[in-house]
C-alpha cells in the first residue's frame, strides 16, 4: 500500500509527477494552480529523482519547452489554468501533430477572458474538441477528487507514451485547492537514458551511425503526405476510443433518471442523489472519467433504460452536446449549469431535476 497523506489537489499532482518518474516540469504561475510549481520547487525533485523544474517566462514558452523535451523522449509535464492553457494552444497542436507524449494539467477557472479565479468547467470544449488548429484530439481525463488528481498523472503518462499523444487532465479550481486524503503510489524510478532510447526509438536523442537521422515535426508540405499524417492520427484516435474509455456509475441499476456530470459537478450530484432518493426519486449518476474518449456507447445504452437525463456542468452547456449525440432524441435531456465561478448547491440541482426533467 502507498503512503497516506492529506494534500491539496495541486500538491497531489506535483507529488505524483515526481513519483511517476517525470523528467521535467515547465510552468508559469497562475491562480488557482500555482501550488503545483511551488510544491515542486520546495520538494527539490532534482535531489530526490533528478527531475528538472523550470519556471518559464510564459505559458507559450512552457508548452514549447514541453514540445522540445517530449521530442527527445523525456517524460514531461506542465500545468496552468484557463488563460494560460489558451496561450498554449499553438504548441499543443504542434505536439499532437508531431505525436509527442506529455501531460498538461488545466486547473480550470471561470472565463471568458481574465474571468475569475474561481472554479469552472467552461474549458470542456477547448479540451475535448481541439482548442488549437487542425484535426487533433487530446486524451482528456477528468478527476473528481484529490486521489484522482494523483492517479491521473500516472495514468496520463502511461496513455501519453502508449499512444504518443498529449494528455490533458481537466480539473478545476476547487479540486486543485481542496484538501483530501490521498494514497500516494510508490515511486517509480526515472528511466535511464539507455532505457529511454530503447523504449522510444522515434525520439530525437542524437544520431548514431547505425540509424537514419530522426526528425520531429508536424510539417508535411505535400498535401498527400499531410493527408496521410491526418489519417494516421484519426486511426490512432479511433484506437483510443476503442480501448481507453473510463467512467463510473452510481445507482443506475434501478434509475428512472440520470445525472450526467464530470469532475466537481459529479461530486455535487452525489449529494443531490442522496437528497432526491430520500424524496423517492429513482436517480442515478453517470460520471465520464475520460472526456475523450467519451463513453458514447455506455451513455447510449443507459439512454434506452431511463426517462430523462440532467447534465450538470459548471458551464453554459458543453458536455451536454456529447450526451445528446450519444443518446439521440429518444428521451428528455436538459442542462443545468452555473458559471463564472459559482458552484451549484446540491439542493438547486435537485430542484432543476424536478422542474426541468421530472415535472417538465
Amino acid at each position: 500500500m502507498g503512503e497516506l497523506r492529506l494534500m491539496k489537489g495541486n500538491e497531489a499532482v506535483a507529488e505524483a509527477a515526481i513519483r511517476a518518474g517525470c523528467d521535467g516540469y515547465f510552468g508559469y504561475p497562475i491562480t488557482p494552480q500555482s501550488e503545483v510549481m511551488e510544491y515542486l520547487m520546495a520538494e527539490k525533485p532534482h535531489e530526490r529523482t533528478g527531475m528538472v523544474v523550470l519556471q518559464a517566462e510564459s505559458e507559450t514558452a512552457s508548452i514549447n519547452m514541453l514540445y522540445g523535451a517530449a521530442g527527445t523522449g523525456k517524460m514531461v509535464m506542465t500545468s496552468s489554468s484557463s488563460p494560460g492553457i489558451s496561450l498554449m494552444q499553438e504548441g499543443i497542436s504542434y505536439m499532437a501533430g508531431a505525436e509527442l507524449p506529455a501531460v498538461i494539467v488545466n486547473v480550470v477557472r471561470g472565463g471568458p477572458g481574465l474571468g475569475t479565479i474561481q472554479p469552472s468547467q467552461a474549458d470542456y470544449f477547448q479540451a475535448v474538441k481541439g482548442g488549437g488548429h487542425g484535426d487533433y484530439k487530446l486524451v482528456v481525463l477528468a478527476p473528481a477528487s484529490v486521489q484522482e488528481m494523483c492517479d491521473h498523472v500516472k495514468l496520463g503518462f502511461d496513455l501519453a507514451f502508449k499512444y504518443r499523444n498529449p494528455v490533458m487532465i481537466l480539473s478545476d479550481g476547487a479540486i486543485g485547492q481542496m484538501m483530501e486524503k490521498v494514497v500516494l503510489f510508490d515511486p517509480i524510478p526515472r528511466r535511464s537514458e539507455e532505457d529511454l532510447i530503447k523504449q522510444n526509438p522515434w525520439a530525437a536523442t542524437g544520431k548514431p551511425k547505425s540509424r537514419e537521422h530522426i526528425i520531429i515535426t508536424s510539417l508535411d508540405l505535400d498535401p498527400a503526405g499531410q493527408e496521410r499524417v491526418n489519417l494516421k492520427l484519426q486511426a490512432k484516435y479511433k484506437k483510443i476510443e476503442e480501448n481507453e474509455i473510463l467512467y463510473e456509475t452510481l445507482g443506475c441499476e434501478d434509475a428512472e433518471f440520470i445525472f450526467v456530470a464530470f469532475g466537481l459537478s459529479a461530486r455535487i450530484c452525489q449529494k443531490s442523489m442522496d437528497l432526491a432518493r430520500a424524496k423517492g426519486i429513482k436517480i442515478g449518476l453517470f460520471r465520464p472519467i475520460t472526456l475523450f474518449p467519451f463513453p458514447v456507447k455506455a451513455i447510449h445504452d443507459l439512454g434506452k433504460k431511463v426517462k430523462g437525463m440532467l447534465v450538470v456542468e459548471m458551464n453554459a452547456g458543453q458536455m451536454i452536446e456529447d450526451v445528446k449525440l450519444s443518446v439521440g432524441c429518444s428521451i428528455k435531456i436538459e442542462h443545468y449549469g452555473r458559471f463564472g465561478g459559482i458552484i451549484p448547491t446540491p439542493d438547486e440541482v435537485v430542484k432543476a431535476l424536478e422542474t426541468q426533467i421530472i415535472g417538465g
Partner: protein, 268 residues
C-alpha cells in the same frame, strides 16, 4: 543514352580535393540560388563532423526559409513553432546536459515573434548555441518587413521604404543580447566571400567548444542576403549587403569570454 556531363571515370578518390560532408544529406536544398542559408548549413555541419559530435548533437530548426533545415542536416532535429526554438532548446539541454544543442533561426523568428523566448533563454544563461540568420526580411512568406529591415528599405509590407516614424526602428537584438549576463560569446559574421565563410566557421567551432564547458549562450549572427526578397541578383544583393547592411550591423566580435569588447550601440 545521353553522355553524362562529368565523366564518372575522373571522379576518383585521388582527384577529390573537397567534398560534401556526410553530415549534409545528399539532396537538393530548397533555397534560392545565391542565398546564404545553404553556406551556413554547410559550415555548421562541417564543424560537427570535425568535432565528431554527430551522435551527441540535437538541433532545432525554425519557421522561416530554413524550416526544412532538418531535412538537410544529417543529425537528429526538431522543428519548432515560429519563434519558439530557444524554448525547445532550453528544455532539451536541461534534460540532456551532455548533448550539444543549437537553434538555427531567422530574424523574424528570433527578433519578432520569438523575442521573449530568445531574451529569456539568453538571460538564463542556457548552455546552447544560437545561429541567427539576419537577412533583414521575412524571406519565406514573400519578403515582408522584418524587425531588422533597414530604415528606408523596401519590402512587400513597406513598399515605399521603412518609415521609422510609423513602422518602428530596426531592432539590433544582437547588441541587446550581448548585454545579458547569461551570454558568453556574441559575434556577427557573414558568408558572402570565402574569407568571411572561414571566419563564420571558426566562430561556430568556438561556440561548440564553449558549449562543452557550460559557459552560457553562444550567439552567432550571420548577416546574410535574401536575393529573392530583396528583388536583386545574388551578386547585386551581396554588394547591397556590404554597402547597406554592414554599416548598420557591423561585423566582428561583440562579446568574448563573457566580456563586452565593443561599445554596444543598441539604438542609433
Amino acid at each position: 543514352m545521353e553522355e553524362p556531363f562529368v565523366k564518372t571515370e575522373i571522379r576518383k578518390d585521388e582527384n577529390i580535393v573537397y567534398k560534401r560532408t556526410d553530415l549534409l544529406v545528399d539532396r537538393p536544398l530548397s533555397y534560392c540560388p545565391g542565398c546564404g542559408h545553404g553556406v551556413v548549413h554547410r559550415m555548421l555541419m562541417e564543424t560537427l563532423e570535425e568535432m565528431d559530435i554527430q551522435d551527441k548533437t540535437i538541433g532545432v530548426s525554425p519557421v522561416g526559409c530554413s524550416v526544412l533545415a532538418y531535412d538537410f542536416m544529417n543529425i537528429d532535429m526538431l522543428g519548432a513553432a515560429h519563434g519558439r526554438a530557444p524554448a525547445l532548446a532550453t528544455a532539451i539541454k536541461r534534460l540532456w546536459p551532455n548533448k550539444f544543442v543549437f537553434t538555427y533561426q531567422g530574424d523574424g523568428d528570433l527578433a519578432a515573434i520569438g523575442t521573449a523566448e530568445t531574451i529569456h533563454a539568453c538571460n538564463r544563461g542556457e548552455n546552447f548555441t544560437i545561429i541567427f540568420i539576419n537577412n533583414g526580411i521575412y524571406g519565406m512568406t514573400g519578403g515582408q518587413m522584418a524587425p531588422t529591415t533597414l530604415p528606408g528599405m523596401r519590402s512587400s509590407t513597406s513598399p515605399y521604404g521603412r518609415d521609422v516614424q510609423t513602422m518602428g526602428h530596426p531592432l539590433k537584438i544582437t547588441e541587446l543580447i550581448a548585454n545579458l549576463p547569461g551570454v558568453y560569446y556574441v559575434t556577427r559574421q557573414a558568408v558572402h566571400t570565402p574569407s568571411h565563410v572561414r571566419k563564420t566557421k571558426k566562430a561556430i567551432r568556438k561556440a561548440f567548444e564553449q558549449q562543452k564547458e557550460n559557459k552560457g549562450i553562444a550567439f552567432i549572427e550571420v548577416v546574410s542576403n535574401c536575393n529573392s526578397g530583396w528583388k536583386m541578383t545574388p551578386v547585386q544583393s551581396n554588394k547591397w549587403m556590404e554597402e547597406n547592411m554592414f554599416p548598420f550591423y557591423p561585423l566582428g566580435d561583440i562579446k568574448l569570454d563573457g566580456k563586452l569588447i565593443q561599445k554596444s550601440e543598441i539604438a542609433k
